[in-house]
């Protein structure tokens, strides 16, 4: 075998290991709130927002709201970012982040919105 291929192979193997490790590290599983509390790791919690709790706090400049996970457990979410523009419409919210000190610190919010006609049916 030519040295070229050996070097190429070494680089590729090293890279696969590097990429694999990072893949494992950045996988964020879907869990319930109790799992999020237990692990303290970055996870995704899916649930419903509690309507009327959302507020942009002018003082500490964060967006916070309450949501319930799929088991119905209620918790507070703080998101240091701009509120997703279709938040009020969301049928489902996915908060990605970690649970810390009684508050879910979200790094990212995914908002699931029904397409309009699904939500309202056809107006007759």
């Amino acid at each position: 075998m030519k040295p070229k291929y050996i070097i190429g192979l070494v680089i590729i193997v090293a890279f696969i290991v590097f990429a694999g490790m990072n893949l494992k590290k950045s996988l964020t599983p879907y869990v319930s709130l109790s799992d999020a509390k237990r692990t303290g790791a970055v996870v995704q919690v899916k649930g419903q927002r509690v309507p009327g709790t959302e507020e942009f706090n002018m003082d500490d400049q964060v967006f916070h709201f309450e949501m319930t996970d799929e088991k119905g457990e209620k918790f507070k979410v703080v998101y240091d970012g701009v509120k997703p523009s279709n938040f009020e419409q969301a049928t489902e919210v996915v908060a990605i982040g970690r649970y810390d000190n009684g508050i879910f610190q979200a790094e990212q919010l995914l908002v699931k919105c029904p397409s309009k006609y699904e939500a309202e049916g056809v107006k007759t």
Binding site: S26, L27, G81, V82
Partner: protein, 737 residues
Amino acid sequence: MIIGILAISIAFIAGLISTASYGIYHKERDERLLRLANLFFYVAGGVILFSTILLSYSLMTHNFQLNYVYSYSSRSLNKFYLFSTLWAGQEGTFLLWLLYGSIFGTILIRTVARKHPLVMVFMMMIQSFILLILLNKNPFAAIWHVHEEAPVGFTPVDGAGLNPLLQNPWMVIHPPTLFLGYSSTMVLFAFAMTALVTKEFQNWIKLVKPWVIFSTIILITGISMGGYWAYTTLGWGGYWAWDPVENASLVPWLFCVALLHGIVIQSKRKTLVRTNILLAGAAFISVLWGSFLTRSGVLTDFSVHSFAASGLTMYLIAFVGLFTVLFLYPFIRNTKHFMIEKFSSGFMNRETLMLMGMATFIVLGLIVLVGTSAPIYTSFFGKASSVSAGFYNITSIPVAALMLVAVSLAPLMAWKVSELRNKKTIIRSALIAFGITLISFLLGLREISSIILFFLAAFVIIINGIVTYGLIRRNFSKASGYIAHVGLGFMVIGILTSSIYDSSDKIILPSGEFRKSKLGYEMQFTGFHEMPDGKDEAMLTVKTDYGTYEARPKFYYSDYSKSYMATPDVNEQFMKDIYISPISFTPANLSNMQEIQLAKAETATLDNIKITFNKFIVNMGEEGQTIHADLIFSVNQNSYWQDYQVQPTLKAQGGQLTRDQAKVGDTGYSVQIQSVNPSSGTVQLGIISPAAGAGKSRDMLAVEVSEKPLISILWIGIILLVFGMATTFIGHRKSIE
């Protein structure tokens, strides 16, 4: 609409007949069969064109009986956006794909179909499969076919409308461009399949090359438009989020770039035969896989973007599975038939470095593929997991570094012979690149990985710039590839500076007052400017070191999404963009209103005010009734009661009540009539007290302001990249003629 449904069925049948006829012609070589095949191709194409026109017409004339028209458009859309709803839904994008496929087919019939009818067999096979999908998700389905609760013959008054975020010029041209790129990969697939079946592994690359260049140009143009739209519209400040939908468009492009370079190597050195076939197949299959991921709804939980679950899952799985097997089976069986020249030995020749560059594109494509598909395979082993953006950001750093090394050195090397040539150029360029990097370091470039990438990108720009300069006077079209390389270098620098060195600050702006943000800008919010399309703009004055400008970010309530939508204001300059995105708006605080009820001559005492209700003054006019409440309003100011006489009014006109607040001198208090009760002679008053904090009685807009240094370099890089590839395309066309 029965005629539309019929049209899709006719196109499907014509597509099948055409596929079969091209297949038999390939065996028999009977001229009549070719004519028959072409005829049915044109029948299918004509019906597809007719369907597209019919759907556009239905959209333009608001035929809300059609579920598609109802779901994506409304009467209030202007003509421009109304037309764009043609590709707002899945059915429409499939139709668009078919239309493009028919155009490509027409070109192929005029060029290669007679000699290589198999290309048309595979083209029409794919077209027929998409038509089959459309038969099941028909754009002409009536509303009562889809919604069981709707009675037959029902026509809604208005449609559900188009998402306001999509009502943007970039969103009008971005999807059709991207779909042009997607559908063009089926030509690459058809050529690769033809090569596999006929076992002609050298000739096909000449024929496919212009198509590969075309796909590469169109895909990157479409991807960039999407990024620019996200940057200027969505307001989160970035152009790329590693979202599944974005990733699904990136992978085929990466494979196309690798294939383009593989073709160059193969045409010079007759190697990489297998790799090129595989890449052409991979480009198309990655498009199918991407459609499956984003359209079937499997990622519904993982992406903001993906279309909602659609009931097409089985068709889309079959689409990917069928064509993957169709491709891999002859590929594996043919392994021993591949005639391969040995790859040259040594490192420092052009093909080795180009192969290294290709490998980085392939690896990047695989990384994105593996990352995006994570929710699928992790669900087999446990909890479904998605990959965070950090994965792509980290893994792409070493790949990008290797890519830049390859792109900087390859242009200087000779084919075949391994020899480090142009040492002087390399050393000089490296020194200049080092100098530029040093300056950037002094200006604040810190992170080690970005320093390395910055240096390599500068190195790429200088070397490819020198090569371009050398070639440009002799043969412009030969310089084109190197221009694209310069573009790549600029893109990397733009990505580095704008993503790693952006800074942002959130600031609250009470109406009328200048506030200074941490980034050093003084900003003043003066109010809203109403727009005819309902997308009201916040009016901001921004003072910077080099002048003052008016920022107009949009902030408006959307009936479609039942919430406030924000579109940022981007002040684009060469050195940096100032990006202002509204977060939240709080109107002047009226909630500290207290209500009291008073009878005639009664006095009420609140904390430090006293109110006495004297009498009503009622005016009957032609325009309706006006009731004034005559009040004595006493305010305790430093233990001294100051009296004010005030008369808030309530106007009743045609069943409409209007309340005029009365200000109580300059005390900050005001008062209004909530309601009157004529029978008891009492008045219900609303007393608005000045808020505790002075700011709270004013409208307040919270905005996020951020700086994106040198993001202009990224756009310049993309333009150079596309320009370079476009001249390759034109140069290639000329060389054929």
